[in-house]
């Protein structure tokens, strides 16, 4: 069975600082990997996804993530955060065969302070 771990429940960073949100997964094969953002009282918005190829993927709003097969990780990064990035971020995995169901991590709540 697949699982996703986001070890940091809450992260606080200053505006303009760099950001890394961690995600580790467990799967018998390399899954598809995703990062989603949830703003207050809203649904999910896709930030970026990894299927194969270049381990560094670019997403929207300056976000990028790096896949590491050896570490079973897919950490999210941003060079300079803005206050509007405050939200909850979810890492998710999906198998590339079978039922394609998504398994989500617990989420990391990001707070950007002035």
């Amino acid at each position: 069975a697949q699982s996703v771990t986001q070890p940091d429940a809450r992260v606080t960073v200053s505006e303009g600082a760099s950001l890394q949100l961690r995600c580790k997964y467990s799967s018998s094969v390399t899954p598809y990997l995703f990062w989603y953002v949830q703003y207050p009282r809203q649904g999910l918005q896709l930030l970026l996804k990894y299927y194969s190829g270049d381990p560094v993927v670019q997403g929207v709003n300056g976000f990028e993530a790096e896949f590491s097969k050896s570490n079973s990780s897919f950490h999210l990064r941003k060079a300079s955060v803005h206050w509007s990035d405050s939200a909850v971020y979810f890492c998710a995995v999906s198998m590339n065969t079978g039922n394609y169901k998504y398994v989500f991590g617990a989420g990391t709540r990001l707070k950007v302070i002035a």
């Binding site: 598809y32 989603y36 009282r41 809203q42 649904g43 999910l44 896709l46 996804k49 979810f90 998710a92 999906s94 039922n99 394609y100 169901k101 998504y102 398994v103 989500f104 991590g105 617990a106 989420g107």
Partner: protein, 114 residues
């Protein structure tokens, strides 16, 4: 482009009553529809996965008797929360995909149970 709509966006029901929510895929054929629930302060759990021409598969802790799902065509799915109680409150997401494609999420239906 591919879009997923959900109706209603917010709803309130009395404890012990039922509530039906809908999911509509626009711009693609939704061969597979997944329903997820996000309980307050929690992550997203898969309720069930419906694939055209296959039986609906419910995850552990979710049953057809409680969450009956209909997927009558390639653009529409509905799910009913029967006999809703406080623990059923949360955000219900619909994720739709076509064969070989990625999953697109709707904005969710937020259920409040009084």
């Amino acid at each position: 482009g591919a879009l997923v709509y959900q109706y209603p966006r917010r709803t309130i029901c009395k404890s012990g009553t039922s509530m039906r929510m809908e999911c509509q895929a626009v711009g693609f054929q939704a061969t597979s529809v997944a329903w997820y629930r996000q309980s307050p302060q929690k992550t997203f759990e898969l309720i069930a996965l419906s694939t055209v021409n296959s039986a609906i598969k419910y995850e552990q802790n979710f049953t057809q008797e409680k969450f009956p799902i209909s997927h009558p065509n390639l653009s529409f799915s509905s799910m009913t929360v029967l006999n809703a109680y406080l623990e059923d409150r949360g955000l219900y997401l619909c994720g739709a995909r076509w064969t070989g494609g990625e999953q697109y999420f709707g904005p969710g239906t937020r259920l409040t149970v009084l």
